[in-house]
Structures are given as structure tokens and as C-alpha cells.
Subunit: 188 residues, 4 copies
Amino acid sequence: MLRSRLLQIAPALALGLSLQGYAAPTVQVLDSNLTQAEVVAAQKGWCDALLKISAAYASGGFSKAKATAEAVIDQAYAYQYGPVAFKPTLATGSQTFRPTRAGALAYFVGGNPAFPNDKGFALKPWRSCEVINQVIQLNGGYATTMGNVRFVDSSGKTTTVDKTWSFMKEPDGSIRIVLHHSSLPFEG
Amino acid sequence: MLRSRLLQIAPALALGLSLQGYAAPTVQVLDSNLTQAEVVAAQKGWCDALLKISAAYASGGFSKAKATAEAVIDQAYAYQYGPVAFKPTLATGSQTFRPTRAGALAYFVGGNPAFPNDKGFALKPWRSCEVINQVIQLNGGYATTMGNVRFVDSSGKTTTVDKTWSFMKEPDGSIRIVLHHSSLPFEG
Amino acid sequence: MLRSRLLQIAPALALGLSLQGYAAPTVQVLDSNLTQAEVVAAQKGWCDALLKISAAYASGGFSKAKATAEAVIDQAYAYQYGPVAFKPTLATGSQTFRPTRAGALAYFVGGNPAFPNDKGFALKPWRSCEVINQVIQLNGGYATTMGNVRFVDSSGKTTTVDKTWSFMKEPDGSIRIVLHHSSLPFEG
Amino acid sequence: MLRSRLLQIAPALALGLSLQGYAAPTVQVLDSNLTQAEVVAAQKGWCDALLKISAAYASGGFSKAKATAEAVIDQAYAYQYGPVAFKPTLATGSQTFRPTRAGALAYFVGGNPAFPNDKGFALKPWRSCEVINQVIQLNGGYATTMGNVRFVDSSGKTTTVDKTWSFMKEPDGSIRIVLHHSSLPFEG
């Protein structure tokens, strides 16, 4: 539930104003549902954040990229509430899944000896990031999307991944990723 | 989740149509949330159903009223899924709560020796039924309303009750009452 | 979702430990559901809080009772997230519903000129408070109860009310009232 | 909500039996939450169904496999409620995603000219199917799992995939897949 979407509905909505002993009622509405527009905005926010980490690395090196990635993860992922179901595109072996914040950070910027195969996906010179949805499911404050994300880097090379996200709206109005499964397309 | 609200979103929504190897995507959206408009319509449906039972009694007597009430209960209340939290306005003593369909039917039309105090609330000559909301809470496929309902009978007498309803959207798209607490206003 | 219920499930649960290239997996479970035991505990918490306000009034007068009630409301009700659907037993007329924290506080301790009919329900010399459930509905992090609450005061006089509560589990693990409809039994 | 989990709680739970005018109350509990045990059982059900289709093909050829797969899909997937977010392991190109029942059936048994690259994943001589969970998230009647599934065929060859499922409990008590993202491990 969400303060920010609390709407004061004017009496125009409420008939029966002459009800004896009652002031003209004002309906207070609390809407905690995720809308399609919010979901699409959250996806765009993820893309924008990736480009931001990449730009931070170009302008300020690893330390700036890492600080940016930490802020992004804390805002975009729900690690503060528990394990996130996160399977990054290029993670391998026993570190395929990243249910902890440390694992997510390592994937995005590398530099963590505990995750030796992580090169830092977000450090690449990404120039654009685009979401192409195939399915969107809205279930109250929980929403899932499945489709592709297409990245283009500074050389013009395109990388396309198959991506599933689930988002959850928290009581403070923030929308966070609780599930993220990304994979390279199968080459049949 | 709900077939009836499945929307086929045209490619206009989906950018990146030139994605190599991909047909122009069509987003399939599944929206299982209850909207405020659906909740208000369900409330009006309850009022209309009450007037319908009352009219059935006037035109066809008890048997017609009972058949109408049975259809209304099966459509408007969720008894087929389990106990409904139902506290009717005028129920008393050990029969204050009506978690079963039989108890709801007895309240609306009476005539059940197992519920000897039930006179049949819906048999009264109701002429209008109006909902005045004070609070609406939307939580995915679950929504709650609190406010007043004002009934007027054939003599012009008005009865006002304090009423709380919770509605749930079922997978077939139907919207059913899972909670109904009605009470006469406190006379301080 | 809830840090406090994050369980680390030992490998015993997870078969296939010899899976090549995979460390013995540890399942991380995030359970955000409300259980019946949590709901019953939250109901008892409400009763205990009422007795606490009453005792604070007896020992420290209005100011102590008010401070206690404020702490109780902030912990037990979800006003910080939006309007609570609250219909107190003895509230009347245009102030029957209390969707704001100020209205709840006035009901419990009185002393607010904006709510002139409020005598302070929690200031009475309550000695016991007992919940008798008739229906409990568990829906994920949302639960509803309907039944009676029986209060006994210092003179031994018993007051019984019909009461509906809905509780919601917040991401920090707190369980808060989002709906509270209380009414005196109908005297047929 | 769910008839099958409706529990009649004996009066032992409910104190205050001497409440005047009230029969000994019986609490009716409606629990619509998915438990971890139900989720694990649903995963096992998916594995068992895959082996069943494979065995049907071995014993009865394509037509028996197809009939078996249709029954499996109708029971295990939520296509009757709308688009399922389904990304099978080996699907490619413009047919990577299978939001329709026809697309799921083609993936499992092939033989559909509209899906020319589908060989019929379930027709392979599978001998075992094992789920190794890494993350389980329980959110009311909705639950997500992420981890690996390991298949062994008649030659003893093992195939391991990264797999995410989301399950939803329907009002009739059935548990169905609404999200299924499967991918081959990244070979770094």
C-alpha cells in the first residue's frame, strides 16, 4: 500500500449527498497495484541504469562505476528484503545464480576475487539498451515481463538476450526486481 | 488471471521492430487486477440484486424470491470457494455470522427453520439502494470498500447501514464477495 | 517479502549434490505469507495494547494514555501507508469512519475537540479482552478475521462486539491493520 | 481460495466458550497460500509429466505422446487463463517465446508445421529429471523457483538447464505454471 498513490476523490464521485447526518463524503482510495506503464518505466530504468554504470566507468574508472552500481542495485533490486532470483546472462558454473547483493554487484562491475569469472557486464561501452516485450503479466503489486533486451555497444555491435523480470511494488512506492533470468538465445 | 482482460497490444507499443530474426512482436498482456470501476460496478450489482429479489417476491412470492436469491448468492458471493466472512445487519446471537451459503440464503429470504429469526431482509419492499463509499483499497485481485448503504422502501422510509465489503476477482473474471460486515449505525 | 523469514535450507533438501561443476546448493527461501498463528498473535496484540492504554490512563492520566495510544496506533495500524478502513464500535454520524490516524487516536483516548463525541474507548477500566474467531481467511500477506471480541471492565461488566479485521504483512515483517469494522450486536 | 484446504478448527482453539448467547464457535479457515511443499511437489509433477510423455512416445508413438502432452499442458500450465510466459530451452528466433498452448505443445512433441524447428523435447528417451533449487519465493498463491533441472537420457547422457518457474494456485486448488524460462548454461 502506498501513500503516493492515495487519491482524494471529490464528492462528485459520491452520490447521495443529502444523506441525513452525513457530511459530503470524500472517498479515500488506496491503489497498490502495479500498472503496465509502471512496469515499462521500471524496465527503462534498468536500461538507463546500465548505461549510467557504463558511462561512470568511462569517465571515472572502476571506483566510480562500482559506486554507481551499488546505488543502482539498492534502488532497482529487492536484496534488502531477501534473496533475489537472479540468473545473469554470462554467469557460469557454481556462480550461475546470484541471490545476494554481493553477487549482483560482482556481475555488474567485476573486481571481486570471490567471483573470479566476472568481467563486469556493465563496464562494457554500452550505447543503447532496448526492451522488446512479448508477455506482460500484472498481478496486483507483482508483475512479470518476458521478452528480449537488445544492447548496442560503442562499436555498433548488437547483443540480444532473452530476459524475464518480475517486479514488486514496495509499500514506499518503489518498484524493485525480485526475479531476473537472462540468457543468450539458443543457437539451434 | 483472466481471459477477458487479455489484451493484444499492437506493435506500436513495441519498439525495435528491425530486430534481426524477430517478427514484429506483439505484447500479450494479462491483467488480473481489480480496478476501482470494477469495484463500484460490483457494489451496484449487489444493490441491483437486492432490488431484484424484492421485486421477485412482490411478483412471484417466496418461491420466486428464493430462486432469485440463490442465483444472486451464487453469482455475487464466493461460497463455492470456501467460507465467506458475512455478518448481516440484522442477524443475532449464535447466528450472527453466516459463513455458509445456507445462512446467507436464509438471511435474504427467510423461510428456513434452522434460522428461525430470519425474516428475509430482501423480501422487504425496497425501492432504492445506494452506496456511499468512504474508503476503497485496491490490492491486486482483492479490493475492500467501507462506507454506507442507504435503502429506501415503498413507504419512503430510509434505512442506512455501515458496510464493509471485500471483493475478489476469480480466474474466470467474476468478481465475488469474500467479506461482508454490515451493521446499524451506533446511536450514541 | 521479509528478511526475518529468510531460511537457509541445508543441502539435505537439495538432491543431486554430485552435479558436476556445482557446489552443494543451498536453497534460499523467502516466505512472505501470513500464517494463522501470526494472525492470532496480531489479534492478541491488539487486545494487549487496549489493556495497556487503559492501564496507562489509570497510572498516568490522559497524557500517558495518549502517548501509549500513539505508539500503539503507529505499530498496529497501517496509517503510514494510506487510509485505514476503520469503523470503531461507538463512532457516530459524520465521524463514523476513521480513515486517518488523528481519527483513530481520538477514538481511543478522546480529548480532541475535532471529534467532540469521542469519550476515549481505551480509557475505560478494561481488565480483559478476548477474541473469538468465526472465520479466518489467509491470502498471502493479507489476512481477514471475523468474529467477536469480548471486553470485561473493572466492575465485571462484559461488552461483546462483532469485529472484522484485515491484517497486512509489510516488507519489514510488521503486521498491520488495514481494515477494522466493529459493531454492537444487533438486538433483534 | 480453496475448498480443499478449508479446515474446521475445533473449539479448542477458541476460548471463551461460556459467552452468553453464543454456541461454542468453530473457526472456519480458508488458506489460499502456496506452501514450499506444494511448490516442490509441482516441480516434481513437471518432471514426472516429462517422463510420462517420453514413455508414451516409446510405447505408443507420436499420437500417444501428443495426447499425453495435451493432458499435461492443460493440467500443469495456465494457458486457459491467458498467455503463459514460456521460454523453452531450445526454442529459437521468432519462436523463442511460447505464450500460447499450441506453441507449448509443439515444443514438447513437435509435428506442427507452424513450428518447423521443434523436434519434440519430450520425445527424447528421458530416464530421469531432477530439480535443484537455488531460490524459492513464496508470495501468497504465487511462488517462484530458480535453479537447475538435470535430465538424464537412456544413454546416460546428462543435460542440465537453468530454470525459473512461477506457479499460481487457482481457486479450484490446482497449481499451474504461469512463467517458465529455461536456458542452457552459459559456457564462458
